[in-house]
Structure formats: C-alpha cells, structure tokens
Symmetry: C2
Subunit: 212 residues, 2 copies
C-alpha cells in the first residue's frame, strides 16, 4: 500500500506544524497546538515523532525540497534552447509560488530557520546549500552565455534575488497581483535595472553635474 493510514496521519501532523510554525514561530508553537489542529491529543504526537525538534526538522527539510523540485521542474519543462531570461522567469515564478501560495512548508523555512536548534539547522543547511548552488549554476550559465554582464558579482546577485523573493512572504497579498506578474516584475528589475542606460544618463545628468 502506498498510503498506509499512519503515513497520512503523519502528513496531517506535518501540515499542522508547518502552518503553526510559520504563524507563531518555533518556541511560540506548542505540541498541543499542532495536535489539536491535527485532531488528536498532545501526547499522541509522540506516537509519530520523537520530539518537537524532529517535527521541525521534517517541516524545514520538506520545505526546501519542495521549492527545489518546483524550480527544477519549471526550468526542466522549458526547451533546452531557451534564453537565460526565460529560465530565470520560470525559476522565480516557481520559487514565489511555493513561498506565497503553496507553501506553509516553504514559508516556515523563511520564518523559523534562524531560531531552530543548531542540530536542526545543520542538517537543513545541506539542502539549502544545494538549492543555493542550483541558483548559482543558473546564473553562471547566464553569465557564460553573455546575458549577464561579465563584471557582475554572481554571489551578491543570487543573495539579492533570493532575498527579495523571500522577503515577499512578509508583504505579498494575493488579491493585489497574481504571482506570474510579480515574478515578471522581479526579473525586469534585476535584468534591466530601473535606471537609464549609460548614454541616456550622459545627457540627462550633464546639467546637474555642472551645477555641483
């Protein structure tokens, strides 16, 4: 049987935990909170998990795994000859979707990782590193193909991009803008910048420079 009853119940507990961690933080979530939402008594949780840390570990690991898979799937569905900008847009859309609408597991990562016990962080960090390297490769490709300028610091770029996406979990409201549209705007800012091109700048700022 691919879905024994106990596995389903375990899922229910993890779902409840992911949501609670994401809303109230780690220490702010009690075993009883999780148990109530999952429809059982507090003590019963320990039939499925060894400890509260154990639950947190699984929530965090599942969260990274899901966003990683979503990004890989999105890029993998594109024709191999796609431009970097298309791959970027696909990855940004996937990341934002997991974070903002699919994702108690992913948003729990954003919100409680820093407060997790050291052992939990250490394990989860392996997955995070792999995901970060995946983004690093994507950007490297873009630079090799010439679509990212040669003198751009890819580490900073990656951290800025992931940072601005992750922070969206604190302000995004689904009624104001659909995620694909948001993803497109993110990509435009990063790729084209918001300033004028150098020659446009040359003209418009001459007066101001002369004055100072």
């Amino acid at each position: 049987m691919s879905h024994p009853k106990s596995a389903i119940t375990k899922q229910r507990i993890l779902d409840a935990a992911a949501r609670a961690f994401s809303l109230n933080g780690y220490a702010g979530t009690t075993i009883n909170d999780i148990a109530m939402t999952a429809g059982m008594q507090g003590g019963s949780i320990y039939y499925y998990f060894e400890s509260k840390d154990d639950i947190l570990q699984e929530v965090l690991d599942v969260g990274i795994t899901r966003v990683f898979s979503a990004a890989r799937l999105a890029i993998g569905s594109l024709p191999a000859s796609s431009a970097f900008s298309e791959k970027l847009e696909a990855a940004v859309t996937a990341h934002l979707t997991m974070l903002l609408q699919q994702g108690d597991y992913t948003s729990a990562n954003i919100r409680v990782f820093e407060q997790a016990p050291p052992a939990v962080k250490r394990q989860n960090r392996k997955l995070r590193t792999a995901y970060g390297e995946y983004w690093g490769q994507l950007l490297s490709e873009g630079q090799r193909s010439g679509e990212i300028r040669k003198n751009v610091d890819l580490t900073i770029l990656r951290l800025m991009l992931l940072g601005s996406m992750n922070w969206a979990v604190t302000w995004y409201r689904s009624d104001r803008m659909p995620i694909p549209e948001l993803a497109l705007k993110f990509c435009e800012v990063v790729l084209k910048g918001v300033g004028l091109s150098d020659d446009q700048l040359e003209n418009s700022s001459r007066g101001r420079r002369a004055r100072s």
Copy 2:
C-alpha cells in the same frame, strides 16, 4: 540630570532584550535570559517594564526609529543638488549599517516582528509605514528627475530593495566585504540591472531566437 541611573539600567535591559530576541525569537527568549544578561534577577525586570510585551514593543520601536534616523541623516548630509543615485547609495549604506553592524534593535525587527502579539505589531507598524513612505518619496524623486525610468513600478521596486537588504541579515559576514562596498553593489544591480542593454541583446540573441 539627563541620565538618571534608572534610565541607564533600562537601556541595559533593552540592549539585552534586543540581542536575545534577535538570536532566539520572542517566545524563545525568557525574562530570565534578559535579566541575567542585564545583571539582575528575573523578577526585577518588572520594576522597569510592565510586561514582556512592553519590552518587545520598545525594542521594535527603537529599531525602526534608529534606522529611519540613520537614513535621514545620511541623505541630509549630502548637498541638496546630489543626484538620485548618490542619495540612494547613502540610504542603502545607512540601512545596511544599522541592520548589520550597529543593530540588535534593527535586526530584532527583521526577525521577530512577525511573531509579535497583534497589539505590539499594530503600534510598530505605524513607524514602519512612515519609514516605507520615506523610501517611497526617495524613489519618487528619482523617477521625477528622470533617473528612474517612468514605467517602473515603484512599490515593487521599494519592496524588492528593502527585502534584499533585510534578508542580508541572514547571510552577511563582516569579514567578507565591508558594508559600503556591499551597498554599492546593491545599488548597481538595482540601477543598472545585470543584463545587457537592449541593443546589445538584439545582437547577441538573434542566433538563439532563430533556432527555437
């Protein structure tokens, strides 16, 4: 007297609380943790503060006030005729400095605001809104002066910029790059983008497009 002893002690408690909240989250920080660091017994905290929420409120409010003042001071120190790009760099440097090296109060904001009790959030949000509007005005100026393209969505730009800065609290290590250098890179990415300009793109991608 401008610094009565009790005010100094109160400061010591707030300093200890800001650091503890930033490291361990709100629920993860106990009154005793704070008291020990501040050099007193747990119960004594209540001679200075009404409740744990009260301490949190002050830490969060001070954090926003400080980063706001730092940004205003940095921009205010520039000649009035300064270009938008210079003002932006000054503000980014100020924000990052408060967040990454001066700032348990500011980083506590990043890390525990979401888990604060509703009443605390409500009050702190007023300061946050004012600070956000200050950034909005700065960007508006830049767009009016022509240094930001007319078709850029300033709300998204502001949220991306602040988001990528705030997220730096999770990865920045002072031994790898000084803050002014980091600030400059942030500004470059945002203003110039990382891609080629349109006409450069026109040439380099022609072959790729024909293939697909």
